[in-house]
């Protein structure tokens, strides 16, 4: 038999002394690593992806998943992944597929930015005992306000306010479609959005019947595959998002592998069962800013002028593109940095295309201010927001709010194994296999995700208090409250941030 020269990445081990033969590992593994051998559990380690489901469900801590030691000779230039990919490609001729966001090491700008705090010369605020406002509005803001005097002599607002989305906190969930994630995972997001007064996004896979009770907290998405899009869908949510690109895969289309297209998903997308759901790389009706405007207004005509968001991957020329998007009539510009997650993307695209969200955010905010159109649209920053600290820094760099995807999935059990494209997720998140999706109880996990949002809200309030401001609005775009540590002069200049000590 031909033995692959791309050896297993991990070694699943069971301590037979500790093992009580309960077979829970066999039941829990979505990858069929374990099988019953009559008197003990047999292990087929080549299938293991280190998702750790078995480890968490083993009652006796008998399981340990090790990094495979017998692999390639260590080399400072040829990394493990370089060698392994060459071996795999030599055997298959294929493009290595990846899931979740880019996991390469490298400078993470968020970690080189420090927030300010008050000492002596201005007072900090105690957020536990004083009012602290995180309320955020997404949408166009008028450039001036006009008032008239009513008959009763009171002043009344004469300016017609553009439609805005009201968020209780500057955090929303990033688009993840039914298909890429399970319906139960979508329900967790929808329930939490409602509970926390924020928004979830359908992604490009239609709006399932079961999500209809949550539509006042849902943004519906239109992308190049137009899956699930009809007038009812467009009008169902509070806003519509046009997806041009995704941070994890700039310049290429959506790709939902056939393994994740059972009958239910096929029906929602109106495509054959088991086929790959391909969203074309471009939207073939959008080759220019003028064309984008045409689609934005087609959607506005259909929805009686609901806010329209346009999502792009952050690429080199992102500032000029964002300016065009705003001028095309978008109410929200959603910037997805290269660290952003995905259900499936070619590794080469995920790891080598696009720019970090920190740079993109600073560039877009600068450009829109210079052109005097920053008020015309809100900016959502996404693509690797890992904590409330990242969120606070993103907002200080110019974002109106942040969007989180991977962090939300982690509350549902995700361990970043990165095999979302196989449809075998043992945690029931990125799979459509009913025996796996049933593990994700929306009620239980909505509590956990709500806890995360609440915790981040408290953290943001603590930060604002330390900064001596009592509203997130006061931090928005306030780069004076950031300092860079260990960043070169040019990077600091691009970010519009002073070095620490100055």
């Amino acid at each position: 038999m031909f033995k692959s020269q791309a050896p297993p990445e991990y070694r699943a081990t069971i301590d037979t002394d500790k093992c009580i033969r309960c077979k829970r590992c066999i039941q829990n593994c979505g990858w069929s690593v374990y099988d019953w051998g009559g008197d003990r559990v047999q292990i087929e380690t080549s299938k293991c992806v280190r998702c750790l489901r078995c480890y968490h469900y083993c009652p006796t801590e008998a399981i340990e998943i090790l990094k495979e030691e017998t692999r390639f000779k260590e080399n400072g230039y040829w990394s493990y992944n370089h060698i392994r990919n060459i071996k795999r490609q030599a055997e298959t001729g294929g493009i290595p597929l990846t899931g979740m966001g880019c996991d390469r090491e490298g400078t993470i700008l968020f970690d080189h930015l420090m927030l300010d705090a008050c000492q002596v010369t201005n007072p900090s605020i105690d957020p536990l005992r004083e009012p602290m406002e995180l309320k955020t509005f997404l949408g166009k803001k008028p450039s001036k306000l006009e008032f008239t005097k009513g008959k009763d002599g009171k002043r009344k607002l004469a300016t017609k306010m553009p439609p805005n989305l009201e968020l209780a906190a500057p955090i929303i969930f990033s688009p993840m479609s039914y298909g890429s994630i399970s319906l139960n995972a979508q329900k967790v997001l929808a329930r939490t959005a409602k509970e926390c007064g924020i928004l979830m996004n359908t992604g490009e896979g239609g709006l399932h019947e079961d999500l209809k009770p949550y539509t006042s907290n849902i943004i519906v998405q239109v992308a190049s595959g137009r899956f699930g899009v009809n007038p009812e869908y467009l009008n169902a949510g509070v806003a519509v998002e046009i997806k041009i690109g995704q941070g994890a895969k700039p310049g290429i289309g959506g790709h939902l592998p056939g393994e994740k297209i059972p009958l239910e998903v096929a029906k929602a997308r109106m495509i054959p069962v088991g086929t790959d759901a391909l969203s074309p790389a471009p939207q073939h009706d959008i080759y220019s800013i003028e064309d984008l405007r045409q689609l934005i207004y087609a959607i506005k005509e259909t929805t009686n002028y609901k806010p329209v968001s346009v999502k792009i991957a952050t690429v080199h020329n992102v500032a000029a593109i964002a300016s065009g998007i705003v001028r095309a009539g978008a109410d929200i510009v959603y910037l997805d940095g290269f660290r952003g997650g995905t259900g499936a993307a070619p590794g080469i695209i995920r790891d080598h295309l696009g720019i970090p969200i920190e740079h993109a955010l600073a560039a877009v905010d600068d450009r829109l201010r210079q052109e005097g159109i920053r008020n015309e649209a809100s900016i959502v920053a996404a693509g690797g927001i890992r904590s409330a600290a990242d969120a606070a820094k993103a907002i200080a760099l110019g974002a109106d709010c942040v969007a989180i995807g991977t962090a939300a999935l982690m509350t549902m059990g995700c361990t970043l194994c990165g095999k979302c494209y196989t449809g075998n997720c043992s945690w029931g998140i990125t799979t459509q296999r009913p025996e796996l999706t049933v593990r994700l109880d929306p009620e239980v996990y909505a509590v956990r995700l709500s806890n995360l949002i609440r915790a981040w809200v408290h953290e943001l309030m603590e930060v604002l208090g330390a900064l001596g401001v009592n509203a997130i609005e006061s931090l928005r775009g306030s780069r004076e409250r950031l300092r860079g540590v260990g960043l070169d002069a040019q990077t600091l200049d691009m970010l519009g941030v002073k070095p620490a000590g100055r």
Binding site: G93, A266, D276, H284, D285, Q294, A298
Partner: protein
């Protein structure tokens, strides 16, 4: 018949008038002097007839769900974008990217059509879109096709001439394309197979083309006077081997 004069009307005002008429319960609406206004019948829902005199602008009937729209002249780009149900009848030619992501309903065009017509059409059993064009088509006809039916007739072209552009049906993974007359494989995408029509196909064609001929005052027998070729996807998963897992 409820008449609306579109002369010198901004598209938003015009479409507001159309929507107001629909909301009042008008079932037959006629637009006169249309001259390039965008988004006519876009997002319009329900059963009604809308006739358009003049040349309507881009994105006619985008996301439309139910109405029948008749256009006496030529029409422009992006017609029937993600249309859900209803019918559009165009007596002249039409432009590029017609029926993008179309999910249901019918688009009947008498004349020629441009590039990327009927791309990413999709369908499930009960809901299946149809586009029939009487003339010739540009490149990428039926690209990414996942469902529904596309028919190209070449009614004004001499026998045995090619009526299709390049990359016909490229990326096709569902649905069917019928071409009246011969189709050379060199014009087809790699994912497409060309076969002869059988009795089952004839039934499909008869049903669809009789309706088409009735809409456009054409003689059904002369439309059927040439044999059809059928294009089908060779695989429901054309790119399944492209990736290493």
């Amino acid at each position: 018949m409820f008449e609306i004069d579109a002369k010198d009307q901004y598209y938003r005002d015009l479409n507001d008038m159309v929507r107001a008429a629909v909301d009042k319960g008008e079932k037959e609406i006629s637009l006169k002097n249309v001259n390039g206004q965008y988004y006519i019948a876009t997002g319009l829902r329900g059963k009604l007839d809308l006739s358009v005199e003049g040349v309507p602008g881009n994105d006619l009937s985008a996301f439309m769900d139910g109405p029948t729209v008749t256009i006496s002249a030529n029409a422009q780009d992006n017609i029937a974008n993600t249309m859900n149900a209803g019918k559009i009848i165009i007596h002249g030619n039409a432009g590029d990217v017609l029926g993008y992501g179309m999910r249901g309903g019918k688009l009947h065009i008498r004349g020629d059509v441009g590039y990327r017509v009927g791309i990413h059409m999709k369908g499930v059993k009960r809901q299946s879109p149809t586009i029939i064009a009487g003339g010739t088509a540009g490149d990428f006809f039926g690209e990414y096709m996942a469902g529904g039916v596309l028919i190209l007739l070449g009614l004004d072209s001499p026998e045995n001439s090619s009526i299709v552009g390049d990359y016909l049906g490229t990326g096709m993974h569902g649905g069917a394309i019928y071409i009246r007359g011969p189709v050379e494989q060199k014009y087809c995408g790699a994912e497409v197979g060309v076969i002869d029509t059988d009795a089952e196909d004839k039934k499909v064609l008869e049903k669809l083309l009789k309706e088409y001929c009735a809409d456009l005052n054409l003689d059904y027998d002369s439309v059927m006077s040439r044999p059809f070729k059928k294009l089908i996807p060779v695989s429901s998963r054309p790119y399944g081997n492209l990736y290493a897992y």
